[in-house]
Amino acid sequence: MKVRKIILIIVDNFLAIGLFIFAVGVLSYYNSSRQNAVSSLPVKTSLTERDIAITEAVKNGKKEYTFTTRFIPGVGVITDPEAYKKEWEQQLQEDSNKKAP
């Protein structure tokens, strides 16, 4: 009889229990998203491809990861290869016209 009473109380308050779990879940999710957004701002580098690759590896429980990037160490991210080439050629042209003193 006691068990039945307890079950009836739970059933009677199921909506309230469900609402409580829902509220805790939403608050927890909101809090973690906010922390993530705030913390990621100062730590972002030009290598977002690496961030994504490592994040995915950790999420999937893997130790290995791979990615490609247009970031050239020592040079930077070349967004327009054709423009870089033209600039290089222009500088070459200027230097070629110079003669030794």
């Binding site: 059933v11 009677d12 199921f14 909506l15 309230a16 229990i17 469900g18 609402l19 409580f20 779990i21 829902f22 509220a23 805790v24 879940g25 939403v26 927890s28 999710y29 973690s32 998203s33 922390q35 993530n36 913390s39 990621s40 730590v43 972002k44 580098t45 290598l47 690496r50 961030d51 690759a53 490592i54 994040t55 590896a57 950790v58 999420k59 130790k63 290995e64 990861y65 791979t66 990615f67 490609t68 990037t69 247009r70 970031f71 050239i72 160490p73 020592g74 040079v75 070349i78 290869p81 870089y84 080439k85 290089w88 050629e89 070459l92 070629s96 110079k98 003669k99 030794a100 003193p101």
Partner: protein, 221 residues
């Protein structure tokens, strides 16, 4: 069970399930936060070149001799990185250019050939200047070599790899026809001295072979 009570139970279960789902995804967000931190603040790393791009070219005076093995840039990096946010985290990476087989430029038909070579993956320029008719048909060869072969004992790191170490090759002291790096992944042949009249002190040939992308494999420890 009355109808209204059933509805309350169903709605209660749905809300509870949704709440658990939010809890689950908030845990995943926390895991992402840790890994993002690894590549940002408190991030330290060491870079060591394990393969270099070198150039062989003539492009010089009197069609004699080819200058060889001048490093113009790095073709493979070994990276060790440490991040110290929320406890030490380590990862290592190997950075490779899209190909590491010899690439040959033939000025006769202006083609680039090489095993696995894709021109879209490289930024390329080539100028055979005032002496176009050179040994080997004016070909320029880009090779991929270990630093230890070129310069034993010299360590190429991120700080000193740009200039290619002590790279410069001159044909002789008499004409000072020299092949040398020109910025990152570039090269030139330059006449600094000699009996070349109006051509004295000129760039006679030059080129650029820069990777437009890198392929990276990493391991998390």
């Amino acid at each position: 069970m009355a109808v209204t009570q059933r509805v309350r139970v169903v709605v209660g279960v749905a809300l509870a399930v949704a709440g658990f789902l939010f809890l689950f995804f908030s845990t995943r967000n926390a895991a992402q936060l840790t890994t993002q931190a690894q590549t940002g603040q408190n991030y330290t790393s060491t870079w060591e070149a394990t393969k270099l791009i070198t150039v062989d070219s003539a492009g010089g005076w009197n069609n004699v001799g080819i200058l060889r093995n001048v490093p113009i840039g790095v073709a493979e990096w070994q990276v060790d990185a440490r991040a110290a946010i929320g406890g030490a985290q380590l990862f290592t990476e190997t950075w490779r250019t899209p190909t590491s087989s010899e690439i040959v430029y033939n000025p006769a038909d202006q083609t680039l050939t090489g095993s696995g070579f894709n021109s879209a993956d490289w930024i390329f320029a080539n100028h055979i200047g005032i002496f176009g008719d050179t040994p080997d048909g004016g070909r320029v060869r880009y090779k991929f070599q270990s630093p230890s072969v070129l310069n034993p004992g010299y360590k190429y790191t991120k700080d000193n790899a740009k200039v290619g170490g002590n790279a410069i090759q001159c044909r002789s002291n008499s004409d000072s026809n020299c092949l040398m790096p020109r910025g990152s992944y570039g090269w030139e042949v330059y006449h600094a001295l000699g009996n070349l009249g109006s051509d004295r002190g000129r760039i006679s040939a030059s080129g650029l072979m820069m990777p437009a992308k890198w392929i990276i494999t990493g391991t998390i420890y």
